[in-house]
């Protein structure tokens, strides 16, 4: 039905476009800005859940928090490398584990300075389990953050020279607690999941005399976390491992400093600290600040003159509208209400038609589409069957004939070019070998192959792809795979509970580094839904994360990927692309890998208000000028 509708709409669209003045058939809709030259109008799709950076959860939140709360670093929109933002510079110790950040003279939108103390408070708030930050676990790279984040019991008070191993044994009597010995002071962290049990443990040992030592026991507080202010200007961070992606990671919005004064003000005024992000209370540390909002209609952001690089902010006002339906969003773009609409805001059935317009663009994206396999149940507990499934899928055909929006066939679980990572060329489609492997596994020509199912969340694009793959399995292996589609929440539940044989899994990288994708298959990762356990793989990835040298590290990653591809708990299908429409007058819009598009770079080329300009204009990002 939707397709018929789209057809009707598009025929109208092409008809009506003839009415405009110059060769407007080049563009989808009006090319004259419908708002003031110093304004940018964008679609945010949904009303955000949180605009508290510590708590952001998803694209609609991140779009906003990234732009109104600056971090220590920012990603250069062209080179994709981390460059200074709130930190003017930093020093890194030789072992690449200790960072000292020197804060710039930047101010909150209320005029007070952003200090290293703000950084400390915000990072500890992020790691506080009471904050309930969904992405908070990314902060666990900070040394000794884990006991605080997991509410471990902190046992201390004993003399530095006692036998800690003996004490550990006593504490663990009759239990299998995970106990870590702190390496910088006499103390240990006891991880107890159950709250009641944890309380009982504290009750038992706090003030108790064990092995001649009077112990102190309490839930770990934030003071142990190795991220703190040395003074107003210097912020010190110590890492568990010398992770090379650290400077890129802390560009993620959750690591932004948060205005303590605003949180306290909102708490005092309304009794609920969460209200601090409402326009009445909000104080921002980035290039823009929220000044007006109407729930599920729009939000207006104006320039923050106190931001250190305000001179480089190109536009005075950004208006975000919340338009969820793709066709509606395309209508708004056409009539000139949006300056650009991005992935998920374009109706997929329009793609073919939109391709002919000059303002339609298609760029690679930091995301990968896969089918993952639950390796615990037959027939997929047999690696030969898994490999056969993978080798029977012709990715080139899928991207050429089914997906059509310029997606790249995947030969790896990591998109190419991340932090210098290059994937090994692989033959992904080999039906003969697939047949042979399946026969070896005991299913010659698919005979006797049990009924298996591929699950995906209800959506037309997933169905189309799954049907094509189902056909490939039928033709190349002569096996029948059932397709089951389930609604989103059920899909998440099934994925989480491993209630599937094969399931679709898309993953968008959290930061531009291979690790964000490789973490998905670590045996202990909460995001590993395949139940695949390979300690060699774990060890290689862990070692890579401890290696402060890019080339060595990428070599280790490549070896880990080799194991992964050989064991095939996952079938990488394609690398995501972003299709978007962008008005020709919108400048300062770069093809950054993460689809961030910082507002502070965006501006309108005013010449379009009068006529179609013929000359290109300088459009390099300006900052720090």
């Amino acid at each position: 039905m939707n397709k018929i509708l789209a057809g009707i709409m598009l025929s109208f669209v092409s008809l009506s476009l003839g009415a405009c003045s110059f060769d407007s058939t080049q563009y989808f809709g009006t090319t004259v800005p419908q708002h003031k030259a110093n304004e940018i109008w964008l679609n945010n799709r949904s009303e955000p859940q949180w605009i508290d950076p510590n708590k952001t959860n998803g694209v609609p939140d991140g779009n906003i928090t990234r732009n109104i709360f600056a971090r220590l670093t920012q990603i250069h929109p062209i080179t994709n490398q981390p460059v200074p933002d709130l930190a003017e510079r930093w020093e890194i110790s030789d072992d690449a584990k200790k960072y000292t950040f020197y804060m710039r003279d930047s101010k909150w939108s209320d005029g007070t300075p952003i200090t290293a103390y703000d950084m400390e408070w915000s990072w500890k708030r992020l790691l506080d389990p009471a904050t309930a930050s969904v992405y908070g676990s990314l902060g666990l790279v900070v040394k000794d953050s884990s006991p605080f984040f997991n509410r471990a019991v902190h046992v201390r008070g004993f003399a530095p020279n006692i036998d800690q191993e003996a004490l550990k044994k006593v504490l663990n009597e009759g239990n299998e607690y995970n106990i870590e010995i702190a390496d910088d002071h006499p103390g240990m962290y006891v991880y107890i999941d159950e709250e009641a049990e944890r309380k009982a443990f504290i009750e038992k040992y706090n003030g108790a005399l064990v092995n001649g030592q009077e112990l102190k026991a309490s839930v770990t507080d934030s003071s142990v976390v190795k991220a703190y202010a040395l003074d107003e200007k210097r912020f010190y961070v110590e890492l568990e491992d010398p992770v090379l992606y650290f400077l890129a990671l802390i560009e993620f919005d959750i690591f932004a400093p948060i205005p303590k004064q605003a949180v306290e003000h909102a708490l005092k005024a309304t009794g609920n600290a969460d209200n601090w992000t409402r326009p009445e209370y909000i104080v921002c540390g980035g290039a823009y600040c929220l000044t007006e909002e109407k729930f599920r209609q729009y939000k207006i952001f104006t320039r923050n003159p106190y931001y250190w690089d305000d001179r480089s902010t190109r536009s005075d006002l950004v208006k975000l509208l919340m338009v969820e339906k793709e066709t509606t969003s395309a209508n708004f773009y056409r009539s000139g209400e949006f300056d650009w609409i991005g992935p998920g805001e374009l109706p997929p059935e329009y793609t073919e038609t939109l391709k002919q317009y000059t303002d339609y663009h298609n760029d690679p994206y930091l995301g990968i589409y896969t089918y993952i396999i639950n390796v615990t149940e037959p027939p997929f507990d047999d690696v030969r069957v898994r490999k056969a499934m993978s080798l029977a899928v012709d990715r080139d055909q899928l991207t050429t004939y089914v997906l059509t929006a310029g997606q790249q066939p995947a030969t790896d679980v990591v998109p190419d070019g991340l932090a210098g990572y290059k994937s090994t060329p692989r033959k992904m489609f080999d039906p003969e070998k697939a047949k042979k492997l399946l026969a070896e596994a005991g299913y010659p020509n698919g005979k006797g192959f049990p009924k298996v199912a591929l699950k995906f969340n209800t959506q037309d694009t997933h169905r189309l792809l799954a049907e094509a793959v189902q056909q490939m399995w039928k033709v190349n292996l002569n096996i029948d795979v059932e397709l089951t589609n389930v609604e989103w929440r059920v899909y998440l539940d099934d994925q989480h509970n491993k209630n599937f044989q094969m399931i679709r899994q898309g993953w968008i990288g959290d930061f531009p580094d291979p690790y964000t994708f490789l973490d998905l298959y670590m045996s202990y990762s909460g995001n590993n839904h395949t139940a695949w356990v390979n300690h060699e793989y774990d060890a290689l990835v862990e070692e890579a994360n401890r290696t402060p040298d890019y080339d060595v590290r990428n070599g280790l990653f490549a070896r880990a990927v080799d194991i992964l591809m050989d064991e095939a708990p996952v079938l990488p299908i394609y690398i995501y692309t972003r299709s978007y429409l962008k008005k020709p007058f919108l400048k300062g819009f770069y093809k950054d890998y993460q689809d961030h598009h910082n507002w502070k770079f965006m501006w309108n080329d005013q010449r379009w208000y009068k006529e179609v300009p013929t000359k290109e204009i300088d459009d390099t990002p300006k900052f720090g000028s």
Partner: protein, 305 residues
């Protein structure tokens, strides 16, 4: 009359209570949690989230707490919009839906009744046929077809009206027509049917025999009786229109209550679903009562003892 209203009100409260019980437990039967997402939520974080909404307690306890809160006028917190209470969300969204609904209804009644009366009075003429054909089209044309067609013509081709959104009277025209047209079509057919039946009745013949003017006969005598089926239809129809339409509000991006019917369920936003179920049920019950009361006024054959 008063006794009747009182009796019905007691019944309504009981009905509403049953609806609340059933929906509260049925929603929980659906698989999936409001907090699940692609990235694994750390267990300590999940515990805190559940505690924040009281989902960590046993279900009967949760129900007791919920009922207790409703009695105090508190519909709970939304999980999808954690910074808003359900009361706040409904308070923001419902008025917009009602404004839209009011104009849709106005359109439906004016167009529908006019077409129906014309059809009945000029039965089997070209007037009747064209009015009824249009009504047929209106009934068969779903709003997800009519809406985009109107947008194409008026917003994208003629550039007269906005393609969607909220804020001015201009924003209301297209969605109100889209929402109201199907009701207009029903009303037209019901009015025509009702009027035809009454026009053939003895009291109309008597009125005509007394030499009353045709206009008086139609509007003063026939209309009152002929409109009865429309009144019956209007009760639930108003409730439907006033709580919003998922389709129309999505197409026009109206920030009203309609989309929540689907979205809140998809998001497992338990308290928001409950809040909407309660608002919708209350609307439906009250309007049905109103219709019965109005019956008593316009139909002399009906009397409540």
């Amino acid at each position: 009359m008063l006794k009747f209203i009182l009796r019905r009100s007691v019944g309504m409260v009981i009905t509403l209570f049953v609806i609340i019980i059933v929906s509260f437990f049925v929603i929980r039967l659906a698989k999936g949690s409001p907090f699940s997402q692609e990235r694994e939520v750390p267990p300590e974080v999940l515990k805190d989230l559940e505690a924040r909404y009281g989902f960590d307690k046993p279900l009967p306890q949760q129900f007791y707490n919920y009922m207790n809160n409703i009695v105090h006028g508190d519909l709970g917190l939304s999980t999808k919009y954690p910074q808003r209470t359900v009361n706040e969300i409904i308070a923001i969204s419902l008025p917009k839906t009602m404004v839209l609904g009011f104009f849709a209804l106005l359109w439906a009644v004016i167009v529908g009744v006019t077409a129906g009366v014309v059809g009945a009075v000029r039965q089997n003429t070209k007037w009747d046929y064209s009015a009824m054909s249009l009504a047929m089209v209106g009934i068969s044309l779903p709003s997800f077809v009519l809406g985009p067609l109107l947008i194409l013509f008026f917003a994208l081709y003629l550039l007269w009206l906005p393609a969607g959104g909220w804020g001015s009277a201009k924003h209301l025209i297209l969605p109100a027509i889209t929402l109201g047209t199907i009701y207009a079509a029903y009303i037209a057919r019901l009015t025509r049917g009702g009027m035809l039946e009454v026009i053939r009745a003895n009291f109309i013949r008597t009125a005509r025999a007394k030499g009353l003017k045709e206009q008086v006969v139609i509007w003063k005598h026939a209309f009152k009786g002929g409109i009865l089926p429309v009144v019956t239809f209007l009760g639930p129809a108003i409730a439907n229109i006033m709580v919003g339409s998922v389709v129309v509000e999505k197409i026009f991006n109206t920030p009203g209550l309609g989309p929540y019917f689907v979205d809140a369920a998809f998001n497992r936003d338990y308290f928001l679903i409950m809040g909407i179920v309660i608002v919708y049920s209350a609307f439906l019950l009250i309007l049905n009562l109103l219709v019965d009361v109005v019956y008593g006024f316009i139909d002399p054959r009906i009397r409540y003892e």
